[in-house]
Symmetry: C2
Subunit: 217 residues, 2 copies
Amino acid sequence: MKIAVLGTGNVGDTIGSKLIEIGHFVMMGSRTAENEKAKSFVAKQHDKASAGTFSDAAAFGEIIFNCTAGVGSLEALKMAGEKNLNGKIIVDIANPLDFSKGMPPSLAVCNTNSLGEEIQKAFPQAKVVKALNTMWCGLMVNPAMINGGDHSTFVSGNDTAAKEEVKKILKSFGWAEKDILDLGDITKARGTEMYLPLWLSIYGATNNGAFNIKIIS
Amino acid sequence: MKIAVLGTGNVGDTIGSKLIEIGHFVMMGSRTAENEKAKSFVAKQHDKASAGTFSDAAAFGEIIFNCTAGVGSLEALKMAGEKNLNGKIIVDIANPLDFSKGMPPSLAVCNTNSLGEEIQKAFPQAKVVKALNTMWCGLMVNPAMINGGDHSTFVSGNDTAAKEEVKKILKSFGWAEKDILDLGDITKARGTEMYLPLWLSIYGATNNGAFNIKIIS
């Protein structure tokens, strides 16, 4: 499949590399076509990787992974262009962490709204699926790194078929069906985004970012 | 030990009953001394239970459990009286869930503040420890109900000795030392309170409130 990865940070690099490893073609999108991190990504991934602007990447991709910093995601997606997003799945991995007021970051949007919802509202013809935003990117694509892969991940979004498509991708990353919980519509992104302060606190208390939560019942 | 339980709802009843079961004396506090739920609590718990106003209970207790509804906690604690709280540990179990705008509830305070912090600011001479607010009350006092008790709970607060005291109580409820994570100072209550929307989403998706999260690493 042809997939767009928007964002050239650790999350984009990790997701893009995994997608290529399992056979997809990835175009990494950034603000400019000359982004050094995107070039480096292409150089190490050989012939299945390419790079371009947000718009180039979104036009290329059948599915779009939003791996941009959350506070810049709406602008990045606007640069990607509504016509390049319409009808497509946007897998929204971003968290609206606002570092502008110091540490720890607060959330730029929360409580009665979420970044996932804002993206869905801005691009009503796209199918936004919030996923994977509750953990360090290394675990997103390699759940087996801890506890034999037995821990929990979430999806939410308004389009059931789109969520099924994203679940397939999660399974191809190593997630077991039983560990993927569909929380409901895109308003449920509030919960997974608002989990971030607890995530940051656990990280701070344990000095280990390679953790996740498992639902026990 | 003599313990005040402020609040007559399920949480107060459950916490108060457990405290009596393990040998403590409990006074349940409410707005009026004639609260029917408090009377019923006293009737079923025999001679170790008593009931009174918030002020009566706080004067009685060496430790105070805040089991009131979060949006009313500050008012309840003001009624309890600063002089009855000064120097004492307040175990804050409440979540600032605001149901006034319909379901799901939003948080009356969050992001750059928390109920735990508000209580600590309002009663600077008390030692507020946020604890147990991340799960259904049945699990708070009986972690062994699921997974042999092996799942996670959190404490946060500014006073280290107070947190140690609360950990002892958690252990007497059945929590293992390894499953009690000290997140840091009372600002970390933001994370455990902001986890509530995810908790509510998981509950909604699974139709089961008797769940908790376990940190996997």
